[in-house]
């Protein structure tokens, strides 16, 4: 059924459709309306779940780890400082193999205080062992939460997942969303019944002390699960297409890349703007494409190498900064393409921090810059900030 809703409403709807059993949430802008909406759904009986009003995000994640060990499907949502406060328990959820699914409404970290979107919060959690999905729009927010549960709870995976929607740009903006019937979702996403959960007939200890003679194997196994997730996400995408018609059959979406001379990698809501900018460039005869990164963890290295076999100049737009000569995604792309380094040019662009608009004009300039690199066969610099104010403008 088509409905008009914000990404936050879509996220709450997705939780309801997934029949989550335990919710633990703490308010933070711009996430708050997800937890409010779910409180309402639980209060009016639309969703049969236990809602724990925790006293912090750290406790939200801790509570869900406990609930998940008891075999409950678990849900929370957060942003920015809240995600940073959870940091310790994000490692715990992943290490404990608890498939918590959590929308993160991306927002800058302070100081300076800023409630608007950028990806520094989620990129800071890159190495916690969570799968990370980026949403371009509100429909994807709903869809990827359903898909994330299916993958996260797969017996071969058992890893938590965050579904990232850009603060305000998606979280508070109304868009048309196709909402599936809950019976259709039941068919796509079965009840949570993990092999590893508390069993009183076979009491075990979970989260034990492990000595150096075995600790590495635990970490390695987490890595294997993350690797397997690449295939499982594609399979879940294929099943999704069959069930609901929408296509999430790959970890990234290559838009007009087939004959492209240059392509721009971008994640989140700005991917939509980049597609429009690419269309404009195409109208002017410029062969440009967009690589929308839908899944950041596991990272689609092989897919990038495949694209780079024909597209030799690749720009990477990061809505985050790592205080080094690269944005986060750019570093990963370079890493993946290193073996092809002689033939492929990669340049990073930093922009859109703290909610700064990423405009079509910005992106068209980036495409022009990439085309110039392609013509000269040389990258002028590894990284460039875009749309900085006068006086510090480095364009």
């Amino acid at each position: 059924m088509l409905d008009l809703m914000t990404a936050n409403a879509a996220a709450a709807k997705a939780a309801m459709l997934s029949r989550v059993e335990v919710i633990a949430a703490y308010p933070i802008t711009p996430q708050t309306s997800i937890s409010e909406k779910l409180a309402e759904m639980v209060a009016n009986g639309e969703l049969k779940a236990k809602y724990i009003k925790v006293e912090s995000e750290h406790s939200a994640m801790a509570a869900l780890i406990g609930a998940s060990y008891m075999g409950a499907r678990t849900f929370t949502a957060t942003s920015s400082q809240g995600l940073a406060l959870m940091h310790e328990m994000l490692y715990w959820a992943a290490g404990a193999r608890r498939p918590v699914v959590m929308p993160v409404v991306s927002r800058a970290l302070g100081p300076p205080w800023n409630i608007w979107t950028d990806h520094m919060d989620v990129m800071g959690e890159r190495d916690t062992g969570w799968m990370q999905f980026f949403c371009e729009n509100n429909q994807e927010t709903l869809d990827l939460i359903l898909l994330a549960y299916r993958v996260a709870e797969d017996k071969d995976i058992m890893l938590p997942a965050m579904v990232i929607e850009d603060g305000f740009i998606l979280s508070h903006t109304f868009e048309k969303v196709d909402v599936p019937a809950i019976e259709e979702v039941d068919f796509y996403l079965h009840a949570f019944n993990p092999d590893v959960k508390v069993n009183f007939r076979k009491p075990r200890r979970y989260g034990s002390l492990v000595m150096p003679d075995w600790a590495m194997e635990f970490r390695y196994n987490n890595g294997l699960a993350m690797d397997r997730a690449k295939k499982k996400i594609v399979e879940a995408g294929v099943a999704f297409k069959k069930a609901f018609g929408r296509d999430y059959c790959s970890l990234l979406e290559a838009y007009r890349c087939d004959d492209a001379e240059v392509a721009l990698v971008i994640a989140g809501s700005a991917a939509g703007t980049a597609k429009v900018a690419a269309d404009r460039m195409r109208e002017r005869g410029r062969k440009v494409g967009v690589i929308k990164l839908r899944v950041f963890r596991p990272f689609p290295s092989e897919e990038f190498r495949q694209i780079a076999s024909t597209v030799r100049t690749i720009g990477v737009f990061d809505r985050s900064y790592t205080y080094a000569e690269s944005g986060t995604i750019c570093g990963e792309v370079r890493n993946s393409l290193f073996s092809l380094a002689k033939d492929v040019h990669v340049k990073g662009y930093i922009g859109g921090l703290g909610g700064r608009d990423i405009t079509e004009a910005d992106l068209e300039r980036i495409f022009d810059d990439l085309l110039a690199i392609s013509h000269h066969g040389k990258v002028d610099r590894d990284m460039q900030w875009i749309a900085l104010r006068d006086g510090s403008l480095r364009w």
């Binding site: 006293e55 750290h58 008891m70 075990r204 979970y206 002390l209």
Partner: protein, 293 residues
């Protein structure tokens, strides 16, 4: 012949890795005898993350969920929520945390769990310092005690803060049942835990847990020290039901010196310090008794 009232069932295995004379291992043994096998225990970072042994071995015959230092209240809420949604009513949710994990880093989550009315038995085994990391001062370290972070020195930098009044904090926070227990009084301990099991809502058990390594006592004196703590009035046994205090046994009969003197952590105490401790203990005990009337 007196009747042996302690249940025979053993839910703690032989062969844990606690120190010799560890009070907390006895406490767990009695606790599980009282609560039975339909109990799920959650444990933050504390001695008990180590005492249970190394994977793949485990020391308890009930399910245990280990987690991070400050989480016990929150994990307890999560476990109970999952049991509730699944309609499972006969399981005891036990939070099993040390004193630092309770009154310091875990206080926020514990207060939250009490505020939420979580149906749990939160047991603080109080060995009066961060013992697992090697004896550092916690909010439960007693006045003038030596620890590695209150080492004394020429300026007398012993622990200068009295113990946090955690029971009183939690009583006003809203626990439905609170009790102090000691390994020196196992029948009282078991009776209180059985009582806690029957009451719905947030329950808090403060268990003094003697620690030979940290208190600098001989392991063979562990129970004796726990008993002396009660007999000197330093650790009185009492209950609080819905805010109403009741002394379990009026056992205060000895001077504090008898408890302090044998312990290495108090060996530097001057007569003035001992007198001050005695005065405070007398005051606190009188205040407790007046609350119990």
């Amino acid at each position: 012949m007196p009747k042996f009232t302690i249940p025979k069932e053993e839910l703690e295995c032989k062969g844990h890795s606690g120190c010799a004379g560890c009070g907390a291992t006895l406490l767990a043994r009695y606790t599980l005898k009282a609560l039975g096998p339909r109990t799920v225990v959650n444990v933050p970072a504390c001695c008990w993350s180590v005492v249970q042994g190394v994977w793949p071995r485990a020391a308890l015959k009930v399910p245990v969920i280990d987690h991070a230092f400050e989480c016990t209240g929150a994990v307890s809420s999560g476990i109970r929520a999952a049991l509730d949604i699944k309609g499972i009513e006969d399981v005891n949710v036990v939070g099993w945390a040390g004193d630092g994990g309770t009154v310091d880093i875990g206080l926020q989550a514990l207060s939250g769990a009490v505020d939420r009315g979580t149906d749990m038995i939160y047991i603080m085994y109080d060995n009066e310092a961060y013992m697992n990391t090697g004896i550092q001062k916690s909010g439960c370290t007693p006045l003038y005690a030596w620890t590695n972070t209150t080492p004394g020195g020429p300026n007398g930098e012993w622990n200068l803060a009295p113990k946090k009044r955690i029971m009183e904090m939690l009583v006003v926070n809203g626990i439905v049942y609170g009790a102090t227990v000691s390994i020196a009084y196992p029948e009282d301990l078991i009776a209180k835990l059985r009582k806690a099991k029957q009451i719905k809502g947030p329950k808090f058990i403060h268990a003094l847990s003697s620690c030979p390594s940290g208190w600098k006592i001989d392991p063979s004196k562990s129970i004796e020290m726990a008993r002396l703590a009660t007999l000197t009035g330093i650790f009185p046994l009492y209950e609080v039901e819905h805010g109403k205090y009741a002394l379990s046994k009026d056992l205060k009969s000895k001077p504090v010196e008898e408890y302090l003197k044998p312990q290495g952590r108090f060996k530097h105490l001057t007569p003035e310090m001992i007198a001050e401790i005695q005065r405070k203990v007398d005051e606190d005990y009188a205040a407790l008794k007046s609350k119990c009337e």
